[in-house]
Amino acid sequence: MKRLLLSLAVCMMIVAPVLSAHGAEKPITVGFPMYLSGGGAVFGKPSSQGAMMYVKEVNDAGGVLGRKIELIVRDCSGSPEEATRVAKELINKNNIDFLVGGLTGSQGFALSEVAKQEKILYIAPISKPAEICEPPKLHKYVFRAAANTKTEGRSAAVLMSKLPITRIATISPDYSYGQGVTAAFVERIKKLKPEVEIVHQAWPKLGETDYTPFITVLMASKPEAVFCSLWGGHFITFTKQAKDYGLFEKFKFVSAGEGGCIESIKGAGDDMPLGIISNAYDTFYYPDTDWHKDWVARCKAYTGEEYPSSWMGTGYDAMKFLVEAIKKAGSTDTDKVIQALEGLIIDSTAGKLTMRAKDHQATRGQYWGTVAKVAEYPFPILQPVEYIPADDLMD
């Protein structure tokens, strides 16, 4: 038994170099490292599904430039060095032509660096820190299809400025994303409504398990409204703990971090606070246009889920930007595709998006709305809801 195990291991190691040789005409390969195990998997998985669905649609229609697209999805969990390692493996072993992926902000930076070093085109479908696409970290090979901390914070500020309040408290996880979104929010709300006062800023650590000491301090500062950028499981834990303090009844609540996505709403269960304002990348129930209904139907058919995830669009649109750019360039040469991608406009799952040439960011807005119970669905949805475009919020 022992000998068998050991010999198997040794054989694998000897045979492996031989297997790295390659054959003839290959498809266009795209590497897709994504957060598929652990806390972020709940968003990483649908993102990868969106990418896979798009690739299937393209391949079924004949591919691109006569070639099929091969999407290699790999788990890189949540750490940036794992993302780097997976990306480099995909580049060196699978000879990928393009790189799309990463979920956390630091993974966005890590993959951006890989792209710069390996001179390969990289599109970030989810990573939000604005600095990724700002000098000095911006370079020619990195693009972002997602929203960023600035547009998200500023959208929240726009909505907050419409409320009849002047005292605002913020609660955000104390790391790059939370700091970035909150700073953007504060800067914009002060511009829109100069009489606003930020009475308190709570900074629980990322991955906090007990928010109650922060909740009590925040409430004691007597705000009229709260801005929050906790996301995913952190948001759910926070709402469960905050509920009985009456926080959501006492104050207006605006939450960035996609609290309005189905995963967060369902994940909070009966404890999802009603009446708060939050956002999502997509809402399967809005808008009622033909192209959106078709998108939702395709998502349903592909995943088999009755209520498709709002995160599918992130992977889908990132891949669409890439493939449309390849089509426009008429080639898979990296420099030509980069040139084609700059300024490219696509019909995304959120309407028309432009990939800006000046900072390689897509004008990706989000859907914002108020959480409300409705008769049609067994869980709350955002209603009323609107799409806030990012075009005017990016600079």
Partner: protein, 298 residues
């Protein structure tokens, strides 16, 4: 913002609640180490399993208003029995081997259990709500204090006293304490120490899963929750002194209070609080607050 006395009182109560949450999670770890000398990394995994099982039980009895209580009773028992099986058929083979081996095994358990949970329940986030009788808040000094927090504030010391009573006053408790002191002699006296250790492991796992069940209404049930708590659990057990059950209780209180008051003074340094506490404690008292020097050979 001025911090007046009512506010500080609430903040301390909040810290104590947090302390009891931590204690409920960490107590099982203390028991297993105190008696068997095993550092159970998989403790967080059993906690997570307890939470997932609670969700499962609540879903099973979805139409009953008492579903939460049923889950709190049922889930830890199921997980504890599972823990017993693991101890009996796997862990027991490693007794007598060096500590590093047992450490590595419990770490391997973390990896395996994490993925087993992922296979059964997927990557979705689940929610368990507070039972109807514990919803809402009471007013203390003009501030709201959740009823569920009061419940936890009572449960923590209850579990502690229950355990103290069990260890000090029952026959099983006496045998377990004896096994912690000198297992060879106990064996020579005709007691089946191996079976005793299974009982202890079941007890520790039961406590972990109970922690998971009681924390479930206050957290998101999702992959990675085992990792979220294991470091804190280890820290409080070490601060209190390994092998000292009351030490874990004390350690939890210190961590809870320092946390809730610390953020008033250092609002952005909460990331280091528990580590600073542990460093200070271990420098002043190398065996933890209530710990005894470890014997060289076990």
């Amino acid at each position: 913002m001025s911090y007046d006395l009512p506010f500080i009182t609430i903040q301390i109560l909040t810290g104590l609640t947090n302390a009891m949450f931590i204690f409920l999670i960490a107590s099982g770890l203390s028991v297993i180490f105190g008696v068997q000398g095993i550092i159970n990394f998989a403790h967080g995994s059993f906690y997570m399993l307890g939470a997932y099982m609670t969700h499962q039980c609540v879903s099973l009895f979805i139409h009953s208003p008492h579903r939460f209580w049923a889950a709190v009773v049922l889930a830890p028992v199921v997980v504890a029995l599972f823990g017993g099986l693991i101890e009996r058929f796997l862990l027991r083979r490693l007794y007598g081997r060096e500590e590093l081996t047992q450490l590595l095994f419990t770490y391997a358990l973390v990896l395996i259990l994490g993925d087993v949970i992922r296979i059964f329940w997927g990557i979705e986030q689940f929610s368990v709500s507070r039972p109807p009788v514990l919803k809402g808040a009471v007013e203390i000094f003009g501030q709201f204090f959740p009823k569920y927090n009061i419940f936890i504030l009572i449960m923590g010391p209850c579990v502690a006293f229950l355990f103290w009573f069990f260890m000090l006053r029952t026959r099983w408790g006496r045998m377990i304490r004896a096994a912690a002191q000198d297992r060879e002699t106990l064996n020579a006296l005709g007691v089946n120490v191996n079976r005793l250790f299974t009982v202890v492991f079941i007890l520790g796992t039961w406590l972990a899963a109970l922690g998971g069940a009681l924390v479930a209404p206050a957290t998101s049930i999702k992959p990675g929750m085992d990792i979220d708590v294991i470091i804190t659990a280890f820290v409080v057990v070490v601060i209190g002194g390994l092998g000292s059950f009351w030490g874990t209780f004390l350690g939890s209180i210190i961590v809870g209070i320092v946390y809730s008051l610390g953020i008033l003074v250092f609002p952005r340094l909460s990331i280091v609080f528990i580590y600073v506490i542990m460093i200070l404690v271990l420098i002043i008292r190398p065996w933890g607050l209530l710990g005894r020097p470890l014997t060289l050979e076990r």
